[in-house]
């Protein structure tokens, strides 16, 4: 499996982001929008992740127009990079805030959206980490997307807690990431990095890949109810993604923040909330 992912040097500890990692991304900043270049797989991932987000949100809503399906929805795109996912969500009508710690990425994203007046208004980019915006964005967003991010995060539980803080109650969290399996080591690291040289060596740390069971456990114990887990597969020959039963390589998760609107933020007693509100997981494994 050819699997290219952008490594965002995301650290949720209060230490600064790894400057070595940032330099790597600064070099690639202008390559974001080459649909056939380094980020080709991320571009084509839109073909499944955008419909996944869109259809999930539509199924939970009763009041929408098919010409502007995400109108009125506030989305936070964490680790937005050059804006590859923010732009389609913006075109579908959402108000998107995209954050990324690498300034050059934000600069690229800002410039790319600037030529389309509709997008320029709907999308706001900010060079920032998640914890830096928590203070001013408590329960602000209807939806958070963290696509190809959590495998780079140092403290995943802290990351999830921060997501919960900025998400409105009953808000949705969408995550796409890579499983930690023998298969993902062989294909994602050995083949992609060392043999085919498609991914620069050292981009991935297999130890930081996240198994879906662990992600589910962390979500459920931090005020989320996991609704969907689905496997994803990349075909390097056709350059396209598809859904599959097995989550042994890439997978996507949809979770909903539990609690009615107006309830106090569960930062102090996350596990208590988790136990009280635990609901059945409707996932494929």
């Amino acid at each position: 499996l050819f699997r290219f992912t952008v490594k965002r040097p995301f650290s949720t500890s209060h230490s600064s982001v790894d400057s070595k990692e940032m330099k790597k991304f600064q070099l690639l900043a202008h390559k974001w929008w080459d649909e056939e270049g380094e980020y080709a797989a991320l571009h084509s991932m839109n073909d499944i992740r955008v419909p996944f987000i869109r259809d999930t949100l539509l199924s939970m809503s009763s009041n929408y127009h098919l010409g502007n399906p995400l109108s009125g929805i506030k989305i936070l795109d964490i680790g937005c990079g050059g804006g590859l996912l923010s732009e389609p969500l913006g075109r579908l009508g959402a108000s998107v805030t995209g954050i990324d710690p690498v300034e050059d990425n934000i600069r690229t994203a800002d410039q790319h959206k600037s030529f389309d007046p509709v997008l320029a208004k709907r999308i706001q980019y900010k060079s920032s980490s998640l914890e830096e915006i928590v203070e001013e964005s408590m329960e602000t967003f209807d939806v958070i997307v963290a696509s190809e991010v959590v495998e780079h995060v140092a403290d995943l539980e802290m990351f999830i807690k921060c997501c919960s803080q900025v998400l409105k109650p009953e808000g949705s969290l969408f995550i796409t990431t890579i499983n930690r399996t023998q298969l993902s080591y062989v294909l994602g690291i050995v083949v992609a990095e060392k043999i085919m040289g498609i991914v620069p060596e050292g981009t991935h740390e297999w130890e930081k890949f996240v198994p879906p069971e662990e992600l589910e456990r962390l979500l459920e114990s931090n005020g989320f109810s996991v609704k969907t887990v689905a496997g994803m597969l990349y075909n390097p020959l056709s350059g396209s993604w598809s859904w599959m039963e097995s989550t042994s390589l890439n997978y996507a998760v949809h979770a909903v923040k539990v609690g009615t609107r107006g309830q106090a933020c569960p930062t102090d007693a996350p596990s208590e909330t988790g136990i009280q509100q635990r609901s059945a997981t409707a996932g494929t494994a």
């Binding site: 073909d47 732009e87 579908l92 410039q111």
Partner: protein, 465 residues
Amino acid sequence: SSAAMAALRGRALLVPFGARLRAGPRAPLRSAASSPPLYDVVVSGGGMVGSAMAAVLGHDIHFHDKKIALLEAGPRKEYDHMPDSYSNRVSSISPGSATLLSSCGAWDHVCSLRLKPFRRMQVWDACSEAMIVFEKDDLDDMGYIVENDVIMSALTKQLDAVADRVEVFYRSRAVGYTWPLPSYSCDTRPWVQVELADGRRLQTKLLIGADGHNSVVRKEAEIRNIEHQYDQSAVVATLHLSEATDNNVAWQRFLPTGPIALLPLSDTASSLVWSTSHDHALELLTIDEEGFVDSINSAFWSNINHSDFIDTAGAMFRSAISLLKPSGTAVRQLPPSVAKVEPESRAMFPLGMGHATEYVQHRVALIGDAAHRVHPLAGQGVNLGFGDIACLAHHLSAAAFNGSDLGSLKHLLKFETERQRHNVSLIAATDVLKRLYSTTLAPLVLLRTWGLQATNALPPVKVRI
């Protein structure tokens, strides 16, 4: 960089994907304040195909909040009142095309104006008795003969109905196009720039070229076009029949000089499309009306081109078929005879064949005659264009619902592959038929005679046609 190299050569190469991302004159960078208005889609060319494209997109639910522009060089025509006499420019509309026109609400208007359904098509050879009859087993119509003006009237009404989404620019000829560099070059405007004759400018995320067989969009995009001028012109006219009849059959006879077709308009009138040599066409236009009518009747009824040899060989083949497949030959009906021609309705236009090697580029798509031009003998011309529209609209609708950049080659290439696969075989077959039937040489006549009779006996082939 490869983009700079291509700019130096000044020509997009055909092969690699990257070369489809044009490097023409760079779109100038201007401040946001002086930016020309930005549209999601601009359709260049307001004929039947261009207007239908704009109308179909305008009625698509996923385009509800999008901005579409249609550029038409001519003035807006008012069609409130249909003249009593029929126009001499008509089209044979297939059921598939009727479905497309229904989808944007135009077909209802067509039906309320006027059209003539036909159930049967009889095609035969002037050099032999060989004949093929097309008929649908169910009682559905095979197709409809509709005046082009009627179609335009219906489309104009449906464009008016979505005027909040579709802006039609009349008397607006595009004189220049500026292509964007591929979108990853950040510092220039990524849209197609369109300059109109009066100096106004537009920008668009996707330019659709529906500007006919001499397409300016295609030329400016430097898309190579394979074209061939036939040494034929088509003569059209509106004819009045000798006696009223059901008139639900379309007739076509292959003469050595070219096919002559009679398309039903009403119980008493038919439309003529006679493809013949340029000289003969001029002659037909200049002779008096009686002589013109005589030529038509003679073309349909005369057996002057038959030879005994061919007739005998043909008859033998027919008996052989009837042994194997008793129902394989159909009853030959007699075409109606013509009494007079509608005054002032005679006209001629030259015929040719054309096919663009590419239908799409980054932010550009060609549809209709801009992409492909075919001989009228197959009655397919505008139907191919409507087929292009159905396919492109399907892909653009899905792209819009996915939040994709409408000008992205990813879905445009899907459109191109689907349509080229469909169109190329039909255009090639039409071209071959045209050449095959342009001769009186016995071997070729025999070949096509047997071919026609065999085709007549084989249901699967007939259905595909």
